[in-house]
């Protein structure tokens, strides 16, 4: 494996290091070294595949990382083809808040009088005292920091418009230095979320530059010359329908220079995610799954040709929003961003969901009708999640905690100004109402509720809680001064099971976004970025963009 300038960087003076971390010369040298190890047998094996399409660089996934990678490769002269399994581009980023952690001392920061440098950005995002910073691969963090300034200019040059820095401390940011939001794409018809302001300009740029985007093409396999050795040669795809069900048409797509895995992570795959946290069974939904499933397709296909996973401890830091409290009253409840009901994607969401402004307005109970924690817990309180994910007695399912239901009354609906009918809630298994608490328990029928909720237990929970409102003290879970009784009919039960946010582990990459195998060797021609790549536990779009761009440039520099 070749050393990039970034790999060699730590020995240099911290403030005087060059910011241009993408060094084309070193990439070419790296690529040449890789070709030298390919053997004749491997080349023959590659001949066995019948290719339907080919391009220099094939990108899997048209989200933040994939679009950046595609443009970066195209700019360097490569022909580029993106396959995307959804019927629209955008991936995980589309419904995001459009936030990037990007700094280094750029124009916007200077205008605000914010002191920043790549060294400061690196120091913030590798803070050992915070679990979020403790477990990241510091070589990748350094690469991210060193690319901040250059990437900022590059993104501006491709149509990204900035809303501005948040200013308040955010995650590992000590002073709100690096949290920058993009401006929402003005004509986006699908979602009010800002993320469109990142992916739509890049889609436009990519198409103008001649990047071909094949929608509703699901990657099913990555081809390598030999099972676990040799170059990556291409991918297999199958055409899928709007529910990702495979149709009959398949394709083999040859990649002359490289394949970039940008499939958005594994939060939506219960089998994959329970490798890291066995509690995260199938009742927990991945947020934004109405736009993108994030079922670990890229990770699995890469592992099948030898890829290792990187920095897996980042996935279990019990920090950040790995798990979130989420919206309620809908299945795909993981975020406060939403789709417009007129969006073509809305059939997957089925409802907008309700956001709880004040957790004094609800109690949260498990499948057994019993409260389990102070409901006002922060969305980053992992004691709350420990209680939510604890076993409650399902003999057929020892892991996972089962559904969580928010129970509330008509007065809470009035205080919160919720609209408790479709399209705001999903009465098909995720939202129920009844005239009495006893009846409400009997109405809860849901694919993850393994038994009917015991009505007597729910009634007792509500009566007991109401007594706390009178006495002022929650003797069970120490909720701060319970304020409101749950008493006025009708009564409601809304799905409020925790949801899953980011993937902070994935395929192991080096600082040039090349995928490493179980022995630490580069898999020639295979790259990964975004939530599919492991190593850097940073939320947001910038990690994807940083390594997407590095991957695109590096792949384009490979010999065909």
């Amino acid at each position: 494996m070749s050393k990039t300038p970034v790999d060699a960087a730590p020995g240099k003076g911290p403030e005087n290091r060059p910011h241009a971390a993408i060094d084309r010369r070193s990439f070419l040298a790296s690529g040449a070294a890789v070709v030298a190890v390919a053997d004749a047998t491997a080349a023959q094996a590659a001949e066995a595949v019948s290719w339907d399409r080919e391009a220099d660089v094939v990108v899997i996934g048209a989200g933040a990382g994939g679009l950046v990678a595609a443009i970066a490769a195209r700019e360097k002269g490569a022909s580029v083809l993106i396959v995307e399994k959804n019927f629209d581009i955008g991936g995980r980023a589309m419904m995001s808040f459009g936030g990037l952690y990007i700094g280094g001392g750029n124009r916007l920061q200077k205008a605000k009088g914010v002191e920043d440098s790549p060294d400061r950005a690196f120091a913030d995002w590798s803070r050992p005292e915070k679990p979020m910073g403790r477990f990241s691969d510091r070589a990748l963090v350094r690469t991210w920091a060193d690319n901040n300034l250059d990437l900022f200019d590059w993104l501006e040059g491709h149509g990204i418009k900035w809303e501005g820095y948040r200013g308040a401390p955010d995650r590992l940011d000590r002073n709100g230095r690096t949290r920058l939001n993009v401006v929402r794409w003005p004509d986006e018809p699908t979602t009010p979320a800002r993320g469109s302001g990142f992916v739509r300009p890049l889609e436009k740029t990519a198409r103008q530059m001649g990047v071909e985007i094949l929608l509703q093409q699901q990657m099913t396999k990555i081809y390598r010359e030999n099972a676990l050795s040799g170059r990556i040669t291409g991918i297999a795809t199958v055409e899928v329908d709007d529910l990702y069900r495979p149709k009959t048409r398949t394709m083999n797509i040859r990649a002359r220079k490289g394949i970039i895995v940008a499939t958005g992570g594994s939060a939506g795959n219960p089998v994959f995610r329970t490798m890291f946290d066995v509690r995260l069974t199938d009742e927990y939904q991945a947020e934004n799954s109405e736009w993108t499933e994030r079922t670990g397709d890229g990770e699995i296909a890469a592992m099948e040709v030898g890829a290792a996973l990187g920095a897996t401890a980042c996935q279990t830091t019990q920090d950040d929003n790995l798990i979130t409290k989420g919206r309620m009253g809908k299945k795909s409840n993981g975020t406060i961003t939403e789709l417009y009901p007129t969006s073509r994607h809305f059939f997957r969401a089925r409802a907008l969901g309700l956001v709880v402004r004040d957790y004094q307005d609800v109690i949260l109970v498990k499948e057994n009708g019993l409260r389990f924690h102070d409901e006002t817990a922060s969305t980053r309180d992992y004691e709350y999640y420990a209680a939510a994910l604890a076993w409650t007695g399902d003999p057929g399912k020892m892991n996972g905690g089962g559904p969580i239901w928010a129970i509330f009354d008509a007065d809470a609906v009035a205080r919160e100004e919720w609209i408790v009918k479709p399209p705001h809630v999903d009465p098909d298994g995720y939202f129920f109402s009844a005239d009495t608490i006893d009846e409400l328990a009997g109405r809860i029928v849901n694919e993850y509720q393994w038994r009917p909720m015991p009505a007597a237990a729910l009634r007792k929970s509500v009566e007991h809680y109401n007594s706390f409102v009178d006495t002022g003290v929650d003797t069970d879970f120490k909720k701060p001064r319970p304020m409101y009784r749950i008493a006025r009919p009708p009564f409601y039960a809304a799905w409020h099971t925790p949801a899953l946010h980011d993937s902070y582990t994935g395929i192991r990459i080096n600082t040039t976004a090349e995928v490493l195998d179980l022995r630490g060797a580069v898999i020639p021609g295979l790259y990964a970025c975004g939530d599919s790549a492991g190593g850097f536990g940073q939320h947001g779009i910038c990690r994807a963009a940083t390594f997407g761009r590095i991957a695109g440039v590096h792949a384009a520099a490979q010999p065909a």
Partner: protein, 317 residues
């Protein structure tokens, strides 16, 4: 008796239910039946009995009639039709009867299939709301009680009884004739209650015997709590500011013992209380919860600060 057993008639016909009767059903509820008839071997119409008639007989009474409408080449079938279960709690047997009849010129003899089930009472459940708290000692007050039948039966005029925590009847009332707006069938009434006779936390019982309802119903009960207090003596002004000590915080829920109020634009809430020592708690989403203890012996002003939660604990992005 096997509920879905077939019975052979004189003409060699056989009868069956597409779905068996449930082993138990609420009194007076509609049971949905679909009757199938299979023709005898060698039947001149090839078993096609469409146009034929099926009767449901309870004791001496004919309680339903249905026509055979569909034929799949072997079996003739009625459409689904509803038959009301008995209005009393009882075991019952119905005879599903293919009477002697002529269909398309062919004569058929009788065939009968007995089916059995039993009825159970409807369940009831209660809701109690608009309970004031605190309630002044010895002062009458009202609560609202609603009752629901699991069969959504009308419960107008049925009696509700409220007992205090000594078991004495504190009040009673009759449910109104129309369900509470926004509910399916929650019949409700306001009940005036005798004032509490002792200070402090109370837990009172509501009972619905359901003996005065047309169909058999099971009784139900519920509890509600409140705090009984002495009349107020002093006015307490609680003013809430951010931790700069200056910026007023509006919309803070202030709890002083059992009394509650919310701060207005100036950050102040007024609460009238008798002299005493009370827990004071403040709550507003986005701020750290605050609490303390105050002793009130005269009109008083209390100022407290609230600290905003860091954005990273409230933001989800």
């Amino acid at each position: 008796m096997t509920l879905d057993a077939t019975a052979a008639g004189a003409a060699g016909l056989s009868l069956e239910l597409a779905e068996p009767l449930p082993p138990e059903a609420p009194v007076g509820s509609d049971l949905v039946l679909r009757v199938r008839v299979r023709g005898a071997a060698g039947d001149v119409r090839g078993g096609d009995l469409r146009g034929g008639r099926i009767e449901i007989v309870a004791g001496e009474d004919l309680i339903a009639v249905a026509g055979l409408k569909a034929f799949d080449g072997a079996v003739s079938e009625t459409a689904a039709f509803a038959v009301q279960a008995p209005a009393t709690v009882t075991a019952f047997t119905w005879l599903i009867r293919f009477p002697p009849q002529e269909i398309g010129g062919a004569a058929y003899g009788e065939c009968v299939l007995p089916v059995a089930s039993q009825t159970r009472p409807h369940r009831t459940s209660l809701a109690v709301w608009a309970v004031p708290s605190p309630v002044r000692l010895a002062e009458r007050f009202t609560v609202t009680v609603g009752a629901k039948s699991s069969g959504a039966c009308a419960l107008g005029d049925a009696r509700i009884e409220v007992r205090d925590d000594s078991g004495a009847i504190a009040g009673e009332g009759a449910l109104g004739q129309t369900p509470l707006p926004g509910t399916d069938a929650l019949y409700w009434t306001e009940i005036a209650l005798a004032g509490p006779r002792r200070e402090g936390q109370q837990c009172w019982d509501v009972a619905f015997a359901a003996t005065d309802v047309a169909l058999p119903h099971l009784a139900s009960s519920a509890q509600f709590g409140f705090t009984a207090v002495r009349p107020p003596e002093h006015r307490v002004a609680v003013t809430v500011t951010e931790d700069d000590g200056a910026t007023a915080v509006e919309g803070v829920q202030v709890a002083l013992g059992p009394w509650r109020a919310a701060t207005g634009k100036t950050g102040t809430a007024h609460i009238d209380v008798p002299a005493g020592t009370y827990d004071l708690a403040l709550w507003k989403p986005g701020f750290e919860a605050a609490s303390g203890r105050v002793t009130i012996a005269a009109d008083a002003n209390v100022q407290l600060d609230l600290t905003r939660l860091p954005e990273e604990l409230t933001a989800w992005d």
